[in-house]
Symmetry: D2
Subunit: 280 residues, 4 copies
């Protein structure tokens, strides 16, 4: 039996990083099965690396690896995170009325195509209770509105998660909430950012007469519909597509962009860097 | 031998238009080979129709058809335009330094895939002379700059055209020019409008960290990078794509979006309506 | 209040068809809201037309319209079918173990994006009962296998349907079944036909080293994985995609191709012609 | 000033390869700027790696690097190839009558988007002479036909090349030619392989009624239209697309698939493995 670990490492670019990391893994008895790296700029750039490696079960612990890589961090002035792939991330889900992304996520999760734990689904729409609970997932109804977002209650509920997926959650979360939660939040926006921020993006697209529509999965920040983009899905439309058609086609795009972003994220393939992402 | 005509008709939506037009064509001995129609709204919308029909050569003239359809125009308060497909449109081309769209257009034209006449290519880059003249197309060099756009000389040259293709012409044409030319101008913008208007759209895209880039062919209006969109081409990109990669990939998108827009336009398949287009 | 009808008409191409149909609809007080036509060949081709028109409720019955168009059929030697859009088609669903297309269809149906009635879901996998019945749709378990397809029982169950959707039904239906059912059957094949017929198309694709995979929705005929193609969905893949990846990506393609084909079909936009389809 | 090298390495998968290679490059004073690796199977698979690294100019020669990596080859039973990116590959081009891929390649080459040397263009169509020679590239006319392929003359001409691009060269090259040339040959097939091998693939596609067409760039082998696929480009089509439309749309696909394959190949990103390719 083997265990699989993922290392995410970043630092200022400098000679010898790859050699050092590869050597360390070799010495601990690991076998590198996948490696990706990226440097923002060949001169004085920032270096990012993802390494997936296997070790014989029991031969080394995550703690030992973390200690090993702490030394690498020190020597190169970098940041190293080690993940044990057997330990599934806990993905909290928030959703408002439109439930197509929710349905998609739950189906993929049950089919094994989205390997996470889902500790809860939170919604300001009580109507989703049944379809969530049939999967054996706890459902929390919070009567949040623009006037009262119930963020305190929200905060107490989301604690038990490693990150949040906003699967069409229509309420903007406050800076205060983001600071207190302090973990990643992935949002799906039903528009092709940076175009069409804010409300009713399909109506905006229709009004501009675009011939391609899109959906964008991105990290939520304090600013509405900004934050590093993880994935975008697009589709051609024509003059015959009215608002209802754009909404219907857009649902598919939202499902694709969000599920793709989540799949990459939970496989530790997404790194935030400034206002952008590296997606290995 | 047969002749082929295209009718473009628009009016307020009302009963009986299709019957009237089909009946007229039948009475003149025509055979409808293709028909497309679109109504903006089933209730009190605007009606648009494109009909392609053949008649025996010599059996009817364009003038007779125009007189026929003038009556339809009156009765329905609409607008009818008749085009003889054997008479090729004269497409003037304007281009600045980047010549990938120019090269694409000229190749497609020679291959017969862009059935137009090209009475001239105008450029503020003398370097394109040879590659234009080898096709037997007159080349005019105008040393236009942002400070002096030489619009008067431009106007005198473009008179001999039915429409203009701005195949990466980097100078904005003035309202005055547009009013005096008074015919259609199709521009290619190297960004996914309405995002990334103005200069250096690929740099803007890079800075936003988008995962999809695009190019947009649209009718030029007095406003920079606005005007009804005819076609858009898109492609996925990743964090590994630097500015040079976006520019290189974008060239392909620009060629695709522009040549597609031109092909539709010269086949009389593009109708402007408010700030949008109908592309049959 | 208005009623909406769809006419599908086909005949040998000849002058006057459009005029006659448009005139008939006008005389019956109808307003054409959408019209599409296609001729296989400008010379001696086959003509196809789809017309959508509205009439004041109560002003005319489907029976009257059918009588009207029967006259057109006679005069032009054609075939006319009239559909009342208020009467939803009854779509029977058959599915084996893989249930991603089933889940997609049921979700779209409940969301109103697939306007049909679903009189039953039939499966040789008892495990789907719960997820079907929660939608209030009757579920029938048939223990069909390659050795015994239980076609007689199947036939008695599918009678109450206007057409069948095979949402990954893995058993080939016999010529005898097809003849007795005598209505349309739409199948989703998890490969890019005409490549990769038969079992395990993703394994075939992997073994060929293709860089694009696809899924195909088509009418079922007596021949395995043949029959007129309605829609195809494709996606780029790379050497890093193993069999499991192709299967996972393919599921999305299958959902897209099938739901698109069904949406077109139930809006009366699909016409079979020889071994091909016209999809308006 | 720096020099850039690319290493392509393959061997049976085993522990320590990455560490060894990274260490070697570090010791020679190199800085790894990009690295990709792929293992066909985590258990007993084949390992492939592409490493791009820079060294100070003059600090090390390609010969020294080759000697270094020869030791790695021995120790791991693998194969290492070192390329100096400053030395451009010599790409010979062969083309028959359809010249859209030729025009595309020559344009990209002049624009600097295809960094190779082009020592010659060979054609059995004398008509391409002018458009080739205006680029300053030697043109050789060989009156090859199916009956007499003039392979001996061809062989003598192609010697001065590192690989060949068959930019729609319609004559199959014999096993004997392939063996004697003994270098890579990249062919563009105007069909979506493995469907539609052989002559007239667009006619085959039309006859099958497919809704997506494609083009395939692949390594030529002795078998017609087989050989490891490098890239494929696809586009949706409809019933309205006749043979001429498929050919016209297909030309764009052929240009995209071929230029993409060539760009990857000349950047040393394509590795053949059995009947497939790894494209980093």
């Amino acid at each position: 039996m083997t265990k699989t670990f993922v290392l995410l490492f970043s630092s200022a670019d400098q000679k010898g990083i790859v050699a050092r990391i590869a050597d360390l893994i070799l010495k601990e008895g690991g076998n590198i099965t996948a490696a990706d790296q990226y440097t923002t700029d060949p001169h004085n750039g920032q270096f990012f690396m993802r390494v997936e490696f296997t070790v014989e079960d029991g031969s080394i612990s995550r703690e030992k690896l973390e200690a090993d890589f702490a030394a690498v961090e020190r020597d190169f002035g970098g940041k190293a995170d080690i993940y044990d792939k057997a330990r599934l991330l806990r993905m909290g889900v928030c959703v408002s009325k439109p439930d197509h992304c929710l349905a998609d996520i739950l189906y993929l999760w049950r089919a094994g195509d989205l390997p996470v734990n889902i500790p809860f689904v939170i919604s300001n729409c009580e109507g989703h209770r049944k379809s969530v609970e049939q999967y054996g997932i706890p459902f929390h109804y919070i009567p949040a509105t623009k006037e009262d977002r119930h963020e305190e209650r929200l905060l107490s509920l989301v604690k038990d998660s490693d990150f949040l997926a906003l699967a069409r959650y229509m309420l903007v979360l406050s800076e205060d909430f983001l600071r207190k939660y302090a973990k990643d939040i992935i949002n799906i926006h039903h528009g092709f950012l940076p175009s069409f921020k804010g409300a009713d993006p399909y109506r905006q697209a229709l009004s501009e007469g675009v011939k391609v529509i899109g959906a964008t999965a991105h990290f939520a920040t304090g600013k509405l519909d900004e934050g590093p983009i993880i994935s975008q899905a697009v589709e051609h439309v024509s003059h015959t597509d009215g608002l209802a058609d754009l909404v219907r086609k857009g649902k598919n795009l939202e499902k694709r962009a969000l599920s793709q972003a989540l799949a990459k994220y939970i496989d530790y393939r997404v790194i935030k860097h400034a206002n952008k992402t590296i997606v290995f």
